[in-house]
Symmetry: C2
Subunit: 366 residues, 2 copies
């Protein structure tokens, strides 16, 4: 006798505070996600909130508020998506947790790990789920690539990673965007772009924290002291090494190359895939030059991964699944996501410290 | 009245000293090159030389010697190809120049720039052409890629380079190859693989020398103190930065990524193309995320470059063209090639010095 499927849980109800550009994408993801819905949005003006809801096809029942507080007070809101500037995360994420709202927090998640620890402590204390909004981690390609990296026979042991996230910010961005303002996103390109680079490296390293970090000379700052471009190296034992380059000053590039003893993994659109419904990655195994050194065996080969839902909708779906488990089944919050977020922040902090110390090596202390 | 073509010059006559693995490839290139021929080879035994000549289809007239000196004394030899271990380059290249033989020298060209300067001085004093045997520089793809990098409208200004050359040496190599022996190729992976990485970076930077170099922690040495893997960063002014990773311990990978303000260049087989007759590279221009941040515009596009002759034959042809100009037309040696070689060696030396100084930044003094 087959057990009947349990009745489906109602969708998780999201509130959104702030009408940032990224909120267009994430609210679309909430509407695409089968276990999520949007019940409220608050902006600094009610008119902006109403316009945002209309422009983005929110359900007619969604409430629009002229303040963030109103969203946090709304008893219909299960979970809060926070796309605010980084300097506001501590206040709003802690408050959300205290109001028993689950927290989907945009990245960079905090100005430093001390702030993040306050956020995580508030979430833990309230028993709410925390997740940062790093979308590529939820693409099915990411799991397929991880299977390759985990296959000792094909990839061997990890030896090195090279990662980058660069984009060419225009004049308007460089003068006005929150990411170049010391009071809003003080980590600049390191927080906005470096977050992804560090995350990709830690991902390749199974989130085994490096022993030390060294920022490389040549950090570019704007006149307010915010980082516009920087690079760094991460070091483990036995020569395992990673480098990354992040910049607001170079053409858009988002590459990760992972070097193993037996295999190589490459992908060139790790943050946002070139196409929404399919994504490529390349693997090479047991590569060598053919005799007399005029060609290759074990050439890189392309793999295509199809996804019905875009990665941001899969992220929202996973977050809602965890929230639903807590709300309807009494589960505990999943600790993996706060842990990955915290490790990423620890490395970012160390890169920043290395820059501030004049490019000294900084040990990572978890 | 059309001028008649000048009568074609006779081909340049090569001698080869040493029967290394790479000499199979380069002698094949000499036979493919329309303005080159092989007239002599000397190995440590006459039998080996004869077998090498037979196995590699040398002209029946080619002489085979049981010593290197015999090749240098042979008046039919215009130019010498030297595929010997690096520690022997100083002696044989200087001697070749003194005997008025043009010098095609395998890389790494010398143990340090002091040795290289002795070689270059000997060549200059004798009026013979010097070129190092870095083949990829002569592939037509390289010129096409350079045209992209030089196009301000498409690529903008150079901001960063990432390069790698890794291969997974087997147990036999790690115990026996000249590249792991301190008395033969003392620079190990830095000389053998790092030479290419540094060259690719300098190439992208129009051979503008960096101001400083920093080796990154985690160099791997064998029990004899030879480098098996290392990485380093190169620094120019205004934040321009390059990093490379070279290793005998990771699956074969030869990638270069060049970051410009407006464009990106990528190629994954820079040292030896995947295929002999056609090579790919990828460019991206004015790339950006499409709204609402769910895809790309200005995606990377692939370009194919066909070549009738493999890059090593084009290298030999270019070298012979220069030698022919000197021999038959009284031209002076081309100074570009010794200059590029010397700049590469200067950076290699600085990386080595940085490792030896415990990972201090080393200024480049040309």
């Amino acid at each position: 006798m087959a057990a009947a499927d349990p009745p489906p849980s109602p969708p998780v109800s999201f509130g959104i505070i702030g009408c940032a550009r990224i909120a267009h994408k994430v609210s679309r993801a909430m509407l695409l996600s089968p276990n999520s819905t949007i019940v409220a949005i608050g902006c600094r003006s009610a008119e902006k909130a109403a316009a945002f809801a209309k422009d983005n096809g929110f359900p007619a029942s969604a409430k629009t508020y002229g303040s963030y507080d109103a969203v946090l007070e709304d008893p219909d809101v299960d979970a809060l998506y926070i796309p605010l500037p980084t300097s506001l995360h501590l206040h709003w994420a802690v408050l959300a947790a205290k109001k028993k709202k689950h927290v989907l927090l945009d990245k960079p998640v905090a100005l430093n790990v001390g702030e993040l620890d306050e956020i995580l402590a508030a979430c833990e204390s309230s028993g709410v789920q925390y997740m940062d909004a790093t979308m590529w981690m939820h693409h099915p390609r990411t799991a397929e690539m991880k299977a390759f990296l985990s296959d000792e026979r094909r990839f061997g042991q990890l030896k090195a990673v090279q990662s980058c996230f660069t984009f060419a910010a225009d004049k308007y961005f460089l003068e006005n965007d929150i990411r170049v303002k010391p009071d809003l996103d003080a980590l600049g390109a390191l927080g906005d772009a470096g977050w992804y680079c560090v995350g990709s490296i830690l991902w390749a390293a199974d989130f085994d924290l490096p022993k030390s970090v060294l920022a490389l000379r040549g950090t570019v700052f704007n006149s307010a002291g915010v980082i516009l471009a920087c690079s760094a190296s991460l070091h483990w034992e036995e020569g395992k090494v990673a480098t990354f380059y992040c910049s607001f000053e170079a053409n858009l590039a988002t590459d990760v190359t992972v070097f193993g003893t037996k295999g190589t993994l490459r992908f060139h659109d790790f943050i946002i895939p070139f196409e929404e419904r399919e994504a490529l990655f390349s693997t090479a195994e047991k590569s060598g030059f053919t005799e007399p050194l005029t060609g290759w065996e074990g050439k890189p080969s392309q793999h295509t991964v199809i996804t019905e839902l875009p990665q941001e909708a899969l992220m929202v779906t996973e977050f809602s699944r965890l929230v639903g488990s807590i709300k309807f089944e009494g589960a505990k919050p999943e600790k993996k996501w706060p842990s990955l977020s915290r490790k990423t922040q620890l490395v970012l902090d160390a890169v920043k410290a290395s820059i501030e110390k004049g490019y000294e090596t900084v040990e990572i202390v978890s």
